[in-house]
Symmetry: C2
């Protein structure tokens, strides 16, 4: 089986692979995200561009060590009323983000880039999941922030941890809310890279 | 904080509590599920009756040991075209169930019962999440069955593990697909039992 490189340091993305019991190597890319975030205002173009840059960064740096390896990269944002919301830098920002999203439905958008060492194939895609929050009091929001789940997460929450208490419903891919739409990864790997993830023996 | 008893032996339900970092004690109930499954043909009545019986079984047996404890019980089924689908007993049954659901949308239904030791309060509720599968070949279904995830799961799959590869989308509560609609548990505990799960310190 081909080696899979996950170009990410996100614990949620790694967790998806671990739970699915698919072997992978996590290598985080080093790109100037701020530059692209300032330059690109369209959310779908932004997340796909960032995913592509991350994938190509790893492809360039690690080509010698991982012949034939598949590289999967992703970038996730929250969009609410036309505003692009990323990660919070501190508790006050996390509060402002969560307060805005409570009782409402937002879009969780992930851009996806998949390529292979030694190949010119590069597939870009994206996925959107609608996420509806229950209304929460300011006190409850602060209690949630104290769990520190907001750190490093687009939209300042993690569906697979305590935020599950106030996520009323989602519409779309679940793994996309964690930052990696696995049903798309599965289909792209099968159709374009001749790799069936269900073949990995547990 | 009050003690929480989860009247279940489901690893997915325990995992929800663990991921949310909420302390709990798991005690599995002993009721004759087959009797009720034969007697009750309405899916919503069936899952709520089974959840109630599980909760009351624990309430009766453990009253001396856990004063004031909250008891949470649930029962989960899949409904597809009017047919109630539970757990598979062997690989052949798992294949038949999965083959039927591939490329289609089914309802994942959980009945929920919450009560408290020494209290007459008993809240029954249910939650329905629509789950859409990608189409999979018979070979892929067998590969999935080899992962052994089908064991002990209504509908013979687990969304938080490898089945995430072929779940195209869900509509409703994510934790409900795991067998426990946490957003409902959160709201019922707050409104009826004066317990705020966000108060548990991580």
């Amino acid at each position: 089986m081909k080696k899979i490189i996950l170009a990410s340091k996100s614990i949620d993305r790694k967790e998806i692979f671990q739970q699915a019991q698919i072997p992978f190597i996590a290598i985080s890319s080093e790109i100037d995200e701020t530059y692209y975030k300032k330059k690109i205002k369209d959310p779908l173009r932004l997340v796909q561009t960032l995913a592509k840059k991350k994938a190509l960064d790893i492809k360039k740096k690690k080509a010698k060590h991982f012949k034939d390896a598949i590289i999967i990269a992703a970038d996730t944002i929250v969009e609410y009323k036309g505003e692009i919301i990323g990660k919070a830098n501190n508790e006050q920002e996390a509060f402002k983000i969560l307060k805005k999203l409570m009782g409402k439905t937002h879009d969780l958008i992930t851009g996806l880039a998949i390529t292979q060492m030694g190949s010119r194939q590069l597939v870009l895609d994206y996925d959107i999941t609608k996420v509806e929050f229950l209304p929460l009091s300011d006190n409850d929001i602060w209690d949630y922030i104290n769990s520190r789940e907001w750190k490093g997460r687009a939209g300042a929450y993690s569906i697979r941890e305590r935020a599950g208490l106030f996520i009323k419903s989602i519409h779309g891919s679940y793994s996309n809310v964690l930052g990696l739409p696995m049903q798309k990864v599965f289909q792209i790997l099968k159709e374009t890279f001749n790799l069936n993830l269900l073949d990995y023996i547990i």
